[in-house]
Symmetry: D3
Subunit: 279 residues, 6 copies
């Protein structure tokens, strides 16, 4: 079974896992703050070996830095702490892997990574566009995070997969910029070719999965992907140079069966294997 806490930051490592248990801008149902702990707990019951990738976590050099202590109620202070932490990763030359928390935690991470990699490409898996200009007047909101990211790295450097919810305005925007793509094999191939050897920030809002597979999230949307589609996506991405990544929006208390946490832990395993220079 794999277990984050077996590893230690003092060891040399290539990938650093960082819990970012923040859900302060969630408007509908909070609880993503419990995500990182639930993924760690569920990882106890998940094997280190992936039959999908025929690879084993035992060979990956990752470390778990535990959870950040984030001051709920002060969004800007929270984002500053995350940014600083990701900066440290980059200075230490390790790949930061954030576990959310809500999707807004992606923003400070992209800011830090973009500074180091100005040619950055962002690949977003998500049910929601997250492209609003503001939400109830708040610009730093989980509903606006990809708009902020787009303003930073440029709409032309973003690809969005799995989107199935947004305002008419958001869809116009996304269609205008051509950011939307699908999980069809040819579209995945096209995306990988388009990325080329540019550095990639991979952000996976786990609500990209169908609520049948992943009910434990604040804003579930019917019509999502299943495990096999995710596997095809991960295999495709193994050819890319992922320099930072995150998995967000698990709200484990909403799924009392624990299956959402198990899926998240197993997705994290695949992501670690996909990113690892060794695997």
């Amino acid at each position: 079974m794999f277990d984050f806490t077996d590893r230690d930051l003092k060891e040399e490592h290539d990938i650093r896992i960082i819990g970012a248990p923040f859900d302060g801008t969630v408007s509908f149902r909070p609880g993503a703050r419990f995500g990182p702990a639930a993924i760690r707990d569920a990882s106890d019951g998940v094997e280190t070996y992936s039959p999908y990738l025929d690879a084993d976590l035992e060979t990956v050099h990752y470390a778990d830095a535990g959870d950040l202590e984030l001051p709920m109620g002060n969004t800007e202070a929270v984002l500053a702490i995350i940014r600083e932490t990701v900066d440290e990763c980059l200075n230490d030359d390790v790949i930061p892997f954030l576990l959310g928390g809500e999707h807004l935690v992606t923003l400070p991470a992209v800011e830090a990574v973009f500074e180091k990699y100005p040619e950055l490409v962002v690949v977003q898996l998500d049910a929601h566009a997250d492209q609003r200009d503001d939400y109830l007047g708040i610009e730093l909101s989980h509903a606006c995070v990809m708009r902020r990211v787009s303003e930073l790295v440029g709409d032309e450097n973003i690809r969005q997969l799995g989107i199935r919810s947004g305002t008419q305005r958001e869809y116009e925007l996304m269609k205008g910029f051509g950011t939307l793509t699908t999980f069809r094999d040819d579209d995945l191939d096209e995306m990988v070719a388009w990325i080329g050897d540019r550095p990639v920030y991979l952000t996976i809002d786990l609500d990209v999965f169908d609520p049948a597979c992943f009910p434990g999230t604040g804003t579930p949307e019917p019509g999502g992907i299943d495990w096999w589609t995710f596997n095809r996506f991960i295999k495709a991405m193994m050819e890319c140079d992922i320099v930072a990544l995150d998995a967000v929006e698990l709200a484990p208390q909403l799924d009392t069966s624990g299956c959402s946490s198990v899926l998240a832990a197993k997705a994290v395993r695949e992501m670690l294997l996909a990113v690892s220079p060794i695997a």
Copy 2:
């Protein structure tokens, strides 16, 4: 986000939503009485825009009449109130859209609609045949509702999709009358052609969905449809003249993740868009 309670019966409207929170004949697990409230709550988190139909609820003239006050324990009085309410809709020239409650609420609605539209066709999505003559001696039961409807409008004017549970006798009956059809594209086309320009009562027992997508229902049956199949069905039905409709059997307390309520709310959105003369 869309929210029924933004609308008001005083405004002019084409479609009237009516909550019918009755589950008094349910033999297995009650709770469909909480369905209409749960759909309203969940609608708060659902966008008005449908990327599937590229249409927006903002352009639809619907109103929410709230929930009927139904005297639990007196089935006949309950059915009389529903019938009267649907009659009023028809008199006001608006399309009634019932939110159940159990499937029996369909009966008085069909009675009212059939009186106005004697050439009525009934399209039923359901996991269960609901074609028993009686259940424990009771003829006004959710397990018999489609038998009663069939007796009224004629077996030859009914189409049933998604059925996967019934007695041997019920299956003989349905096969004899040829009421069963499937969600295959050619079968949908055939059904739409068969309907032609006849008026349609569309009744969707939400347990037609697979329990994976929709666990929040009293009598779940493995082997149901997914969201994409439902979308194809809705698109096909947009060519028909739906004069009344319902969505029944959400029992929200059985799905603590809330995903069933969200799916129901989103299905209601698609149904509103499909029925709307404007959409």
Copy 3:
């Protein structure tokens, strides 16, 4: 509706259902002990008629022997009781159908059956290989049950379907012996041909289903099968001579919607129909 307790051991019967509510070696999340009772409860809401097989349980001669009283905390005593009970079935010339409980209950059943049928073939549906030599030093563990079974009947007499979790060592083992196969139609045909007229022990760890369909199990694994795949499998197996069978690892309290129990009950119905000499 079908209901185990309508039947009586005094009647003549071909198949005997035996509850084995043991989960004493489960390392992650216990609760499979509640499985047999949950299947019985859920069977109340399931029709006796299967539209998939066009067959009715009313014509099957099965009996329910109720639950064994098993001394939690003494694994060897538990296994001895199960073995003895299965022996009695075989002496009475009826097919034993165990309801688990955890997967370890399969071991004593196979032991008893193998003694009577030395040419036995074992067909395993499962998410997990269960091929470890030991688990935390324990050889009689749910994580090792198929290794014990393999040692008994020979690796060459086993087929495993649905496996998607194991150690690298377990996968090497399974690939070496060629025990792994799939649910593709041609693979099912191949397997049935390979079995020929040899007697079969069919063990179904219900976690072979995707957690979307079946969240109520101790160690869920994304990427499992759906109801339709199970149906194809059951139809294929109807040509084989199943002499004993089990369905294990339902942990009903982990799925508060009750859908897992309903699926299990419906799967048991199909299995009864598939095994019955009459159906």
Copy 4:
């Protein structure tokens, strides 16, 4: 551990337990239909010996007749079945002990008992007065049951304990007739003296307990009694001639801890011991 199903109606018995799983007139939260089954399940974990009464169920001659099959949706048919069943008990000279179900099941039982014992006294433990004339126009409702009982046996032959919820009108009525009393020792003594050797129907709406002890009920009311008060009451009642009794309104699915079911099972044990001619 005590277990209803160990007993058999064929044995001679003094007390007959009858499940009445009806909740068809419940207006707020249904689920009392699951009460009898939950009490039976919980009784598995409850000892037969009561240290409070220093008495053992092993010495009591009771039998469990199982659950009545009641046609949900037809209140009058349900009440007729219950009445008939209680009549049979009285004809067989055994004490009927109903397990609800909602409180309305008390009405047909009192009707049957009153016919045999016209000098009947009714003692009601309850949080709610249940003295409305009608509820939403329905006279046969759980909210009106004690009004119906009062009309039958006479307000002067009723004592109500634990009441803490009602309309102003109901309180005026109860104060006018002097039916209200308390669990204070002197009030209990006074009540027992007032009863004398008249036959008693004891109806215990389990929501008389504080929701802290008994959250599993449809309409919880803060301010109820605890286990020790119930024990003092039971001891006081042992001097009376209880000829029929019931325990109603356990809705077990509302208390996922199962504690409400355990309390109900233990209360039933004490009631059996209190009523038994031997104890």
Copy 5:
């Protein structure tokens, strides 16, 4: 049954109920945002008549202004909206009655009220001191709210009841200022005398109740009060001039039995009756 939504702000009223669904600074378990809606839902099942106070809500002129729309993630904007809303109440000469949300919502309300009533006394029922200077560097936190209130109105103008959790430093502070008192009758009398005819802001953190009665709160603390103690407190306070009040920290999703919401609704009824000039 009583139902907030029957009332309308257009009617004349003495007390205005305002939902403040904010839980943005909660560090442990969020969900108090769902409190106001849950109290409204539960009020459906609560009688308007209080047998404790022999008074009926039918005679009280209160109105429900619904929930404020609060921008999660921007604490200062949230507090500004609440303050403005309470200001409006005071301008309209009605008593504001806030339903939280977390305890921090009390701060802007006290600010507004204190400006109008500089001689204000604050009475706090709570399990927690809430007297920290800051929490993780945040001064506007639910854990600091009473420190902020104390700084505003003066420690000498505060009384705290039910406190059973705090740091050693907080206890020193509270003991130094003599703010702590108890629910003993003589202490209640002393407090009422000390208040005299000064205006009172009454803030009830519902976690003052024992978790047995009120498990539905973010930070439960064993050792709290029961319903009867609360009743004695309310009766004592009826002699005081309460000019504003709140009830906070119900997190209904943490108590799936719904009993916490019912207790909160019933407490709100008693508070309305206690405050009403008529009652």
Copy 6:
């Protein structure tokens, strides 16, 4: 907030906390294996300062050794591991503080302690006698643990408080030996005097609490103690020389509100303060 994991075994310490997550002999409802982790999680929300004892955990030298890895399914191996671990504590001259797990974990701990302290007194808080000779033939069962302990240290060296469930035989035994006592102040005084300066093993089966306070346990029994009674008990025991202790039978998943875990964590805090030579 207090947090076990802040401490480190390398530091010098007086008390060592050891998680013993075993529930393998539980016959009714498992889950006590999740107890230690739940206590640690809940401790995050509990202050280090106890206003009851006016003492602070900051001044106590305790360490948390984490959870033992126990091979489920092999009771004897589990007990041997626990015994060995407690032996180590005693060799290191620190007080072992076990967190269960089921009550059987007390047996090996008492064995180890008794060897070092042959004049040992055992004080048991519990709802259940646990004095059966065997349970379904198993002598090493949670239902027999105190019989085994009694055989070891002698019935005359045991005191049992809070017992309210057992067989008639168990009560005869306990009365015969005079092991039963109560929480009345005079009885506590008498017990403390009787103990004198003998070393004490304190075992607290948390189901001694009333299910209202502590629903999260496998076999709840109405009629238990509340927090205040526990506090009086702890204060009384501070005069005794406790050389080892445990807190067992929290099954956190049975109480979804989390209140049972919070109470357990707070009880552990009080026990640490009571035992500490400094406090």
